[in-house]
């Protein structure tokens, strides 16, 4: 692909380099690295600006056009842009997101992979109280302490929503600022918390010790992985990214995350291996 004649004018027309950003979240960084390597293989020059905090930090930069490609999650981003967004199915959410984005930004194709919020309990806890979906939490006879990033407490799907939509009364909130990472899992296992918000693509689910509670009332919006891009991304670049998204399935993301957390591999190695395997580079 490096000999693609289209690549040259494309990259020079839109400026010399494409800036790819990522959240300060390892999984997001892996996806950003995949985008970057794919783009580089397509003849583009990439400037990586990874690990740049949470949405509130980088969103202004994307809106200002300082970042050209950013891996995002449809539902999460939609809620960040429009607190009252209704959501719905994966495709509905994607459409609403397209509408909610400012004029200078757009999203390319969404991937099959999603990494969405969830209410999760330990398998033991689920068995003990016979839990399957969120509504069944009503069976729990002990106080339920909730854990997750501190913003969870006020999010539309947070403890308040639990009460309003499912009538579940929680006993308290404990912040663990690791984005549903190992410490949150440890807190669940230690019984410091009973209910946690863990991203569905977390490798923690591989162990089978955790159970995601089903969400029939669509408390959580579907959050498929999607690149948010600026005008600088031309058709050639977009085509590359869309190919990546097409290959990025639900299971893939969990595997990639597992390589990072369990095998302690760095994002670039994980990305190269996957892209090579998928024959994308």
């Amino acid at each position: 692909a490096s000999g693609d004649p289209l690549a040259e004018p494309a990259s020079s027309a839109g400026g010399s380099t494409i800036v790819v950003g990522s959240q300060a979240y390892y999984s997001n960084e892996i996806i950003a690295e995949i985008y970057s390597q794919a783009l580089e293989a397509g003849g583009f020059t990439v400037d990586r600006q990874f690990q740049i905090g949470q949405r509130e930090v980088y969103l202004p930069d994307i809106e200002a056009g300082k970042i050209d490609v950013f891996p995002e999650y449809t539902g999460d981003l939609l809620q960040a842009l429009d607190k009252t967004a209704a959501g719905g199915t994966s495709d509905e959410t994607y459409e609403q997101l397209q509408a909610a984005l400012p004029d200078n930004l757009r999203v390319l194709d969404q991937a099959g992979a999603s990494d969405q919020n969830s209410w999760t309990v330990t398998a033991d806890f689920a068995t003990k109280y016979n839990l399957t979906d969120i509504a069944s939490l009503i069976n729990v006879s002990v106080p339920i302490t909730v854990g997750g990033n501190s913003e969870l407490e006020t999010r539309p799907y947070g403890p308040t929503a639990l009460k309003e939509k499912y009538g579940i009364q929680t006993a308290g909130f404990k912040p663990v600022e690791d984005g549903g990472g190992p410490l949150t899992v440890k807190a669940l296992e230690d019984g410091d918390i009973q209910l946690a918000n863990i991203y569905t693509a977390s490798p923690a689910f591989e162990s089978g010790n955790l159970v995601v509670l089903e969400d029939p009332d669509a408390l959580f919006l579907p959050s498929n992985v999607v690149p948010v891009v600026s005008d600088k991304i031309d058709d050639a670049a977009a085509a590359i990214l869309n190919k990546v998204s097409a290959a990025l399935t639900e299971d893939t993301l969990v595997q990639l995350n597992s390589q990072s957390v369990n095998d302690e591999l760095s994002a670039d190695k994980i990305a190269t291996a996957w892209l090579t395997k998928e024959k994308l580079i």
């Binding site: 300060a24 390892y26 740049i52 905090g53 930090v57 202004p60 957390v261 302690e264």
Partner: protein, 228 residues
Amino acid sequence: MTWIWSNLDLIWDRTFDHLILSVPSIILSFVIALPFGALAHRYRTSRAVILTTVGLLYAIPSLPLFIVLPFIVGTSIRSPLNLIIALTLYGVALMVRVVADGLGSVDRDVQQSATAVGFSGWTSFWQVELPLAGPVLLAGLRVVAVSTVSLATVGAVIGAQSLGSLFTDGFQRGIQAEIIAGTLATVLLALVLDAILVLIGRLLMPWTRRSAIGVRVRPDTVAQEVTA
């Protein structure tokens, strides 16, 4: 620990990012603190005002400062400049007091004799007071250096790349080796900068090195050692 060996380049990159944040801050703190410290040293009223102000400055928790600063100075929140400004503020807060104390520690006899033999105020400041305050300034600067390096890691929480990024990343991925590597690298970096400052001090202040024949107490030794 294998993580460390397979990610040396990452650690090195973050160390470099860290240097970009901390070294300019340390230098700027010193340069900016000089005039304010001198002012605080010279006049009683300005002393109270300046020292109280820097005292308050130091009470501001770093995290909100990192976030609020862009609104005040107009930099982007994750730009290194933002962090450098914040770190410089803390450095200045620390250093101003040191400069005032350092100038105050200069032997009055020496100062007076300099005036008596005909040093003008300005010349005396640069050629007598400042060099003689040197050992105290150095001691203070070493503290500033160490604390700036340490403080810069907090920037990772708001997305400014530094060795602190190894903490947040390692924390999420549950890789202890990554956090340990970040911590060790930070301590090491601090100690290296500290050693460099000591070396610079040796070069610039040769007179403090020579041991006295007479049993003259050098006012600086205690301060120097204590803050080592």
